[in-house]
């Protein structure tokens, strides 16, 4: 795999983690704990096909939320200094709750990812002092 593909794979894990997290935090504690099973996205991610889309690399994500199947296109750009310079995600749902979640995730991911190298992000296990940060986000960072 080329370096960029690896970086994209890392980003994919983040995005995927965010949506898994969104599903989880949308359920009650009881529901979630009753059904909780280890998540193993990393294995699936290694084969994920990223498409070259102009200067961006993009991928279409399909996943299931309480609102049903969701679709998003995620695009990221990494410059020659190995820094994430841009992040885009299209929202492909009409469900208001899903939109609200996704908008928040886009904002959170954008402010954190841009300017970081994938290696810096990969070193972080959790975030302290983040009383407003969603667990989904923390979870996503951890999986990088």
């Amino acid at each position: 795999m080329s370096r960029n593909t690896w970086i994209m794979s890392a980003i994919f894990v983040v995005i995927f983690g965010v949506f898994v997290g969104s599903v989880v935090s949308d359920t009650t504690l009881l529901d979630f704990l009753a059904e909780s099973e280890p998540t193993q996205q990393v294995e699936e991610v290694k084969d994920s096909p990223w498409a070259q889309d102009g200067e961006y690399l993009s991928i279409e994500l399909k996943y299931f939320s309480p609102a049903g199947e969701e679709n998003n296109v995620v695009k990221v750009m990494v410059d020659e200094d190995n820094t994430i310079t841009d992040f885009e995600m299209t929202i492909g749902t009409a469900n208001e709750t899903s939109i609200a979640y996704q908008e928040r995730f886009i904002e959170e991911l954008e402010t954190t990812l841009i300017g970081m190298t994938p290696e810096e992000a990969a070193d972080i296990d959790t975030i302290a002092g983040a009383s407003l940060t969603t667990t989904a986000f923390t979870d996503a960072i951890r999986q990088m």
């Binding site: 997290g21 989880v24 935090s25 504690l29 009881l30 979630f32 704990l33 009753a34 909780s36 099973e37 280890p38 998540t39 904002e107 959170e108 402010t111 954190t112 070193d123 972080i124 296990d125 959790t126 975030i127 302290a128 002092g129 983040a130 009383s131 407003l132 940060t133 969603t134 667990t135 989904a136 986000f137 923390t138 979870d139 960072i141 951890r142």
Partner: protein, 258 residues
Amino acid sequence: MQTITFEALSTQWSIIFDSTQRIKEVSKLIQDRVAEFEKKFSRFDPKSLVSQFSAGKEVDDEEFEQLMEFGKELETKSRAYFTLNAGEYLTELGYGKGQQKIDFGGFGKGWLIDAVAELLQEAGFEYFLINAGGDIFATSKRNGKPWNAALEYPQKNNTVFGTVEIKNQSLAASSPFKRSWRANKNHLLDGRTQRSIRHKRSLFVLAPTAAIADGFATILTIIPKNLVGHIAQENNIEFLALEEGKITKSTGFEAEIF
């Protein structure tokens, strides 16, 4: 690694297990423990022990007594800047229902983090990290290495300014910026003046347990600036403080600042 997430004490919790051990059973135990704690110590539930105590009824509960004792110790160690009697004040600000005469909010979350950690250890889990809305307790990773926690700017969500390693200890944060929606009022009460603190200081505290870290994060945020170093040292607390754009820290708080 495996993760569970859930909501408790009005914040989101996540527990990361560095293990392949089955977590289903222990998840159920955690669920029960957390629900029990919330029921007992809720500011909002008129049936809670806190509400009963405030109504002048006798409370016969071991954990309630332990929390009271721990809270009173914090009052003394803070030289009375920290008070357990913030309940009434918080009710006025809209944080609770009824006239609560007592409030464990300054360290209750830390207490529950410790309780969950103890439960995990009793169930045979050795390598885990608990993050409750940004307050953390962690053992080590399976390879014996510490966990790496990013430190978030209190006023800038999702913007980190450094990292610190955590191993067999707790990292708690406190800040007057979160949960503040009225001019010159916030959830941090000066026990001596019975008013919101005015200074804008945010704290990160490293301590052996989450109850101590949570309690001292609160205390070091409330007290006057000239006492922060003294009270931290008296109680073997490692801290990092952000105030007026400056970062000060104790030598034992080995953070890497970006």
